[in-house]
Symmetry: C7
Amino acid sequence: MQGQAQQQAYDRGITIFSPDGRLYQVEYAREAVKRGTASIGIRAEDGVVLVADKRARSPLMEPASVEKIHKADDHVGVASAGHVADARQLIDFARRQAQVNRLRYGEAIGIETLTKEITDHIQQYTQIGGARPFGVALIVGGIENGEPRLFETDPSGTPYEWQALSIGANRSDVREFLEENYSEDIGIEAAIGLALEALAEVNDDDGLTPDGVGVATIEVDDEDFHERSAEEKESILADHDLLASKEDDAAEDATGDADESGTDEGGADE
Amino acid sequence: MQGQAQQQAYDRGITIFSPDGRLYQVEYAREAVKRGTASIGIRAEDGVVLVADKRARSPLMEPASVEKIHKADDHVGVASAGHVADARQLIDFARRQAQVNRLRYGEAIGIETLTKEITDHIQQYTQIGGARPFGVALIVGGIENGEPRLFETDPSGTPYEWQALSIGANRSDVREFLEENYSEDIGIEAAIGLALEALAEVNDDDGLTPDGVGVATIEVDDEDFHERSAEEKESILADHDLLASKEDDAAEDATGDADESGTDEGGADE
Amino acid sequence: MQGQAQQQAYDRGITIFSPDGRLYQVEYAREAVKRGTASIGIRAEDGVVLVADKRARSPLMEPASVEKIHKADDHVGVASAGHVADARQLIDFARRQAQVNRLRYGEAIGIETLTKEITDHIQQYTQIGGARPFGVALIVGGIENGEPRLFETDPSGTPYEWQALSIGANRSDVREFLEENYSEDIGIEAAIGLALEALAEVNDDDGLTPDGVGVATIEVDDEDFHERSAEEKESILADHDLLASKEDDAAEDATGDADESGTDEGGADE
Amino acid sequence: MQGQAQQQAYDRGITIFSPDGRLYQVEYAREAVKRGTASIGIRAEDGVVLVADKRARSPLMEPASVEKIHKADDHVGVASAGHVADARQLIDFARRQAQVNRLRYGEAIGIETLTKEITDHIQQYTQIGGARPFGVALIVGGIENGEPRLFETDPSGTPYEWQALSIGANRSDVREFLEENYSEDIGIEAAIGLALEALAEVNDDDGLTPDGVGVATIEVDDEDFHERSAEEKESILADHDLLASKEDDAAEDATGDADESGTDEGGADE
Amino acid sequence: MQGQAQQQAYDRGITIFSPDGRLYQVEYAREAVKRGTASIGIRAEDGVVLVADKRARSPLMEPASVEKIHKADDHVGVASAGHVADARQLIDFARRQAQVNRLRYGEAIGIETLTKEITDHIQQYTQIGGARPFGVALIVGGIENGEPRLFETDPSGTPYEWQALSIGANRSDVREFLEENYSEDIGIEAAIGLALEALAEVNDDDGLTPDGVGVATIEVDDEDFHERSAEEKESILADHDLLASKEDDAAEDATGDADESGTDEGGADE
Amino acid sequence: MQGQAQQQAYDRGITIFSPDGRLYQVEYAREAVKRGTASIGIRAEDGVVLVADKRARSPLMEPASVEKIHKADDHVGVASAGHVADARQLIDFARRQAQVNRLRYGEAIGIETLTKEITDHIQQYTQIGGARPFGVALIVGGIENGEPRLFETDPSGTPYEWQALSIGANRSDVREFLEENYSEDIGIEAAIGLALEALAEVNDDDGLTPDGVGVATIEVDDEDFHERSAEEKESILADHDLLASKEDDAAEDATGDADESGTDEGGADE
Amino acid sequence: MQGQAQQQAYDRGITIFSPDGRLYQVEYAREAVKRGTASIGIRAEDGVVLVADKRARSPLMEPASVEKIHKADDHVGVASAGHVADARQLIDFARRQAQVNRLRYGEAIGIETLTKEITDHIQQYTQIGGARPFGVALIVGGIENGEPRLFETDPSGTPYEWQALSIGANRSDVREFLEENYSEDIGIEAAIGLALEALAEVNDDDGLTPDGVGVATIEVDDEDFHERSAEEKESILADHDLLASKEDDAAEDATGDADESGTDEGGADE
């Protein structure tokens, strides 16, 4: 009890450190990320793979409107987890930065440069009062100098580079799965399979549906962001034996009105 | 009790996350939406239907002044639920965006573009202090590239695309009804009927009155927003056997001074 | 008790929603309206009638200085109830809007347009912090395109159109009286009588005095705001057998120093 | 006790309404007015009379420096009660408004116009946070179109027109006296006498001193503000048998250090 | 106890009135004045006298650096009591106003004008939030139109004119002494003696030292501010039999580190 | 308990001193530094050495993205400990200052000058409200006038110059180790060894890994910032017998999800 | 206890006076000064002496980086005690003022003028909210018109002139020592000795070290700021028999990590 009371004393705003040097509001923003459905990024030898859990909460909702994977520039994709509206703000910010870079320097923005411009923007919201931190994490992936790069941004504004990572729900379990199964020389199609397997592993449902997942790749060859169509996704899921039976699909969609918190919690029970 | 006390500690402003990563003020704004009378949107094959519960709280009040359905541009209609004055602000914002688009690009604004400009505007009020979130949800419907599109905005600033949806009072019940009865190949007149049936299903009263509902359509053919007249509505209600008997009408209007909360609660008991 | 304590937690400013989605400060501003003396508006076939209870709290006070009915433009009158100084701000705002309209478009402002400019202005004070809502309601009446129109603004910034309405003290009782006695084809002189009867019905005193009521009309014929003189009022009151005897008049004026709250409570006991 | 605790919850700033629609900070500012010594205004047939209790708290203090009656323009006088420094701010504001009117329109400002510019200024301090209301009331008197006019401003920013009124200490008692003794056809010299009698009636001391009262008139004839000299005041007091004996004068002055609250409490006991 | 708790509820800032209409923060600022050593002003027939208690808290401190009497312009002197740094701000303000007057109008500023510019400046700090009142009182003395004038400013921003006054410690006792001994036809040298006697009367020490008092005069003859030298002061003190014996002087200086509160408490015990 | 309660009363913002003259928020920011992994700086005869503990929290994370050592200008390196995103802000600030110096004066910025510009920037965040202090300490090392210089910045904004120092976790133990083993005439390669030995001394793990440490030098000869490659680091660690066995490496990397606090806590257990 | 609770009620910001007229935050800032190591200033016949306790908290720290004595202009030195980073801000401010004076008037700034510009700057931070007072005191010494001058600034913004003074730790004891031993006709070398003796008197250690003290002089002859070298200091300490034995030196330096509070507490135990 006392610990809790003490914690409450220092968690009312981002301009206050706790006695042990923590920023509780930033840590709570991380909880908003955890409430979001998972997104996974994998750096393959020949490109970057972004996969996201995007199950809709009603069969009447357009799957395409569950925004988890975004194109930031021709050569950059971003997957998000957490507060959807916050993610949109950061994506818009990223797009503007990418455009400005093209205008100013006549070339595509570097993936690391872009990531750090985003995290510096996020940091401002953790030091100056009058606002709250962004309740969202991003996976920023793309091609830079012919090499695939894969970054994470978190609510504190720290950038990390990864070979493979997951954000959002079940982050630890997915990471464990990736650590056991990832190897640097993985090809892009195998990477898609690995990411979907990781997603299926932690999902409660019996398999995945084409509409319930998002898959995008940016390959070294053409340096171009591509989202896979429903047909392509169905074929991949079938290949990996991850395709949910029709009954499951219906069941999943019918979970109903549970989520209205603004985070991308999809069909997950609360 | 403890849970409640704890909740109170984090719900005093939109610049504070709760320890589990929630924004209580945004969730409370969703409650303001639920206090409003229902609005329903359905995407038909040949257009978009907007229907709203707009029962007045006195027979002396002009039915037309119960603002639930608005024209945002020639090809876009908006239905709202929740805080009426907040809805007006967002409608005004939407109209200005639509005008600017016509001036700048010489063409009608896209439904998705317009929706996202609205949600990005809403998001600002959930992150920067000194204001409160908008206590209103919108259904934005219209024709884009010859296709009917139907979107929702909520108080967190998240955009969703739907085939059919409801906002405001009894949202879950109406959605359930729509999920059971909607099919993608529905025609626009059938869609009007379906929406009115959904509304009647959850209403306490014995049927609907022409003045007590609003009906608007934007059809693919002419891409033009039309509100149905009282005569048209009476005829439709009669066709669907939803027309209230005169006695009910009077009873409904006489519920009196119950609502003065600023939300569009109409004749509903509190 | 608990309910009250809980309420207190969410009623300290307009930037805070309560857990059930209410804005307590706006609701309290409505209480300020209820503390004000009544104003009544009636839309007749041939014009609009504004009537107000404007009893002074001392025989030494100039009746004309009890401001309840205001001319906003040649064709628009406004009656108020609640915080007097707040009413003055909104009237000034309305006058400027009307002037601007004449300058910009060379024509008289529409009654609905004017009302909505006022309510949009009011709404700002319910969403942005650092101020309080306006503690006043207005009845805006006038002629637009040759038709009488009658609107209400409330502290939430919601506009309503009415056939007949009352704001301020005893709102429910007056409305009930109006609902029972109003008919759309009422003439303007009959409407004046009806409004005065409604006022007398709910007043504790035994009749009305010419100085204790304000009567203004805007008729379709000349689209011009007219306040009735004391003589005219006396004659009307006598015609309707509503004229207070002299003794009552004195008694009324002598209620003394009761009201100093800034609302237009007139001679009413507290 | 509970009532008091509840009151405290809503009286910490002017941006908060209480649950019953009151603005406690404005009401407390009225208490500051009541702490000030009385000022009285009377509208005579041929001019306006301003009289004020301006007893000094030490014989060493210059009577002229007890500021209760001010000249705002040639044809306008202002008497105040309450917070002295606040009064000075409003007087300065009034003088600037009067000057601007002369510059802009080449004519003297109307008494009603001037009063309402003052009250609109006061209102701002009751709605926007970050400041406190003005703790002062004013009597604004002057000649407009050849007619004497007499107004009151209070801390809520409400303007009232009076035939005769009093502000500050013992307001109710003085008003009662005026109501009993005032008649509209009173002459200016009789009005001075009436005002001084009212003042003497409620004063604890045995009579008034020339230095302890301020008397100013603005007459219809010359439309010019005149303060009466000590000799004139002594003569008037003697005529009305209100002149204090010398011993009382000394006693009054010796009340000493009691008042240092910033209000014009003069020699009154606390 | 209850009274105290209640008081605490309303004394946290200058934007809050207490229920009885008081501004506690202004009253507390007056306490800061009382904590300062005394300053005395006397208006003689032929000039103005300013005298101040300026005992240093260590023999190593330069007596000249205990700032109690300041030259504001050639013809104006100011004595202060209370918060030293605040006094400096107001003196600087006064000097700028005096300079501006000379530049703009080519003449020396009036004493009353200057005083009221200072008090209006002080008032701002008692109404607008985000700052605290000035914790200092001033005596402003000088020659205007050949006449000696003597004013006081207090933390509320009220100006008073005096024949003779004291501010700071023991204000009541000194005033009583002055009331008993002052007469209007006093000459300037006699006035110096009277002021020093008043100071000695309330001091605990056995006599005054030349360094422990400040003496300045502005005479009608030359309208020029003069501070008396140590020799002149010693001679005056000896003439009035007020000179402390050497032993007392040492004792006084050795009171040591007692005062570090920022007010000019000098050698006084706390 | 009481001490703790008292502390809490003064630690909510950087605009509040505690009664004993401390700034708790600055002290809490120092705790954020202690939560970060260690960085070590040593001034050798022929250059400056920066060494940092940069163990990643997952084998999938790119070691290079654990930012502990930064190039600020050709001749300046900066090592950090604490809040990563805050460090990035200060590094950016330092880079801009270095650039501006080159542009303005055509020469490299001095190490002391640069450090003090950083600390002055930090100080602002400890005195003006509305923000929090920087939760990071920096070691700024470089060559100035041919001499190696080594500085520290802390969250209070104080600059210190050192011969050898450590920031972050285990600061006291590392300093003790350095005090015992450092001598001024140490060569740069020996200094690298000393720093790594100090790091190994306080680490729980059995040896260091090339990826788990960062090593940078700025030598007097070329005044150029160089980071050592993984191969060079492996060779140095082997030379000093500090190389972890492969098993330890794996174990270290697998500590998993422990750290998500935004500080650079690496693989350390919490 | 009660006293303490009461104190807490008024010490949360510099915009609040306590009921007895005190500014607690300014008094707490004085405590920050007392936490700093001592600085001493002495005005000799032929110049000004500044001496400071600048023991480092580790033998690895550069003694020169313990900033206690600063050159503000050629002819002005400043010694500080308290918050180091705050001192740097004021020194920078002082340097800019001195430069501006040379640019504007073509001459060296006066010592009194400079001091008062600093104290006026400090005062701002004690009256306007949103910041905290400066937690530092300064001794400002220099030559003005051929005369040595010596001033103190404190956190309230009050300037004092002294013959000899001390700030920081043990202020009272050092002052007592100075009061007993200072005479106005002291020569500059004797003054250095006196200051060092005063420092040694209150130090716990057995003697002083050359690196542990700072000594600077500004002499009348050349009006130039000079800091004494380590050799000169060693010689002076030896002459006065104040030189610590080598063992003590080591012991002193080894006190270790005690101080990290941002004040210049040096080797002092806490």
